[in-house]
């Protein structure tokens, strides 16, 4: 089927089987390989993207359900080749190690920044509860998001 998406502010069109995962359409058809596949069953959050303002696991969304929607992937965070403030905080706080969880973490963190949530460490933990990281022990990721939230105010 013909699929139309607005990805990171750009209108994109492609042909895809309706049950093809949004994750695969992003990576294979649109060549946006920043979004990673971890588990492929909605446990790890590595494939997180934002559809129409809501964070989702793109491995669990058939592309037919995303047709005509607005999508933000990790590639859409930086502006004009300059890292966003959130990405800068991850960099400065050591919030990224091996990097597999990082795109999903950044996307989940983005929804925390965009929400009215208070930005306490426990609210941040809740916001990234659907994202697994096997390197950092989470502390530095939470430090990074907390720093971004404080600066955002």
């Amino acid at each position: 089927m013909r699929i139309g998406l607005t990805v990171n502010g750009q209108k994109r069109e492609t042909d895809a089987a309706p049950m093809k995962r949004l994750l695969d359409v992003l990576r294979e058809d649109l060549r946006l390989t920043g979004t990673k596949e971890g588990c492929g069953e909605g446990e790890c959050g590595a494939c997180s993207v934002i559809i129409d303002g809501e964070v989702v696991n793109s491995c669990l969304v058939p592309v037919c359900q995303a047709d005509q929607s607005t999508i933000l992937t990790v590639e859409g965070l930086a502006e004009n080749d300059r890292l966003s403030w959130l990405q800068q905080c991850f960099l400065e706080c050591g919030g990224a190690q091996c990097g597999i969880c990082t795109p999903g973490m950044l996307i989940a963190a983005k929804t925390i920044l965009d929400s009215d949530a208070c930005g306490s460490r426990s609210a941040i933990r809740e916001g990234i509860a659907g994202n697994l990281c096997r390197c950092t022990g989470y502390t530095k990721i939470i430090d990074a998001i907390e720093r971004a939230v404080i600066q955002n105010r």
């Binding site: 309706p18 492929g40 959050g45 809501e54 669990l60 969304v61 809740e126 509860a129």
Partner: protein, 287 residues
């Protein structure tokens, strides 16, 4: 092959009904996809045709309707968590919705999907059991209402006919009792499938249990009501003796198994401990 799968996107209810009448049990209804896509990705279950109802907005609402709170089957867990009406009347439904996965799943998963997927571990199911929810079911033949507690006929089996669609869940306000408790035990707080999940809906009068409904998941082929324990507890004062008897009876009500997530023995012990703890809180609160 995934590329061979046909998908029909339902634009309105009658359109969905005619698809169901044509495809029946050869097709599968796709709501938020949080269960079906897992089967598809694992290639453990692939239906040849899907009816996509994600954008069937007629089924996405939470509203007060006289004596009832009505939730459209396509309400997501996030819709429930954010609903002031549900927070006011049915706080344990909010508690249950918050334990499902994490934000990514809560934004896509629907209560209709949780109910029809018919897993004994469905997190919202014990809550619907203790509220004696009614399910409104529709097809091109008309609509009917089925009590939630009669919906499941066995492990992953329901009374839903191949041409039928779950439309809404109706909760009668008179079934919202003063004391509502919910507890899920999983491996971790987020992203876990329950080992035991319990909802209790009760009232007390002059220190005695006036009314009590106990719903439990992950301890039997379907979600169950602990009916022996419930009948014993009626008119009882909560003390050491009644607590011991209740946890003994609870073991008769449930039939847990050993599986990948837990053991029967662990589930039995934990179910009994949670029951005790909730009842002790109830005694404390009603003093």
């Amino acid at each position: 092959m995934i590329s061979d799968i046909k998908v029909h996107t339902a634009t309105h209810l009658d359109d969905a009904y005619s698809w169901l009448a044509e495809y029946g049990d050869k097709g599968k209804v796709l709501a938020g996809g949080t269960d079906l896509m897992v089967y598809l990705n694992a290639k453990s279950f692939i239906a040849p045709a899907y009816l996509d109802i994600w954008r069937l907005n007629e089924l996405r609402f939470v509203r007060e309707d006289g004596d009832f709170i009505v939730l459209g089957a396509m309400s997501t867990y996030t819709d429930i968590i954010e609903s002031p009406v549900i927070r006011q009347y049915a706080p344990i439904l909010v508690d249950a919705a918050k334990t499902v996965g994490a934000a990514q799943i809560q934004n896509r998963g629907t209560i209709g999907g949780n109910i029809v997927n018919a897993s004994p571990a469905g997190d919202t199911l014990p809550v619907f059991a203790v509220f004696d929810a009614e399910l409104e079911i529709g097809s091109s033949r008309g609509t009917r209402t089925v009590p939630f507690n009669e919906f499941y006929t066995g492990y992953r089996k329901t009374v839903l006919k191949p041409d039928e669609l779950l439309l809404s869940v109706r909760l009668n306000k008179k079934n919202f009792l003063n004391h509502q408790s919910f507890r899920k035990v999983g491996t971790r707080r987020a992203q876990a499938i329950s080992k035991v999940v319990i909802a209790i809906n009760s009232t007390t009068q002059s220190g005695k249990i006036d009314s009590i409904k106990i719903g439990i998941g992950s301890v039997a082929p379907t979600v169950i009501r602990a009916s022996k324990t419930e009948s014993f507890l009626l008119d009882q004062t909560i003390n050491q003796a009644s607590l011991s008897e209740a946890s003994k009876l609870l073991k008769d009500d449930i039939s847990p198994i050993d599986d990948i997530r837990s053991t029967a023995r662990y589930r039995t012990t934990v179910a009994s401990n949670i029951l005790r703890r909730i009842l002790m809180n109830l005694a404390e609160e009603s003093r």
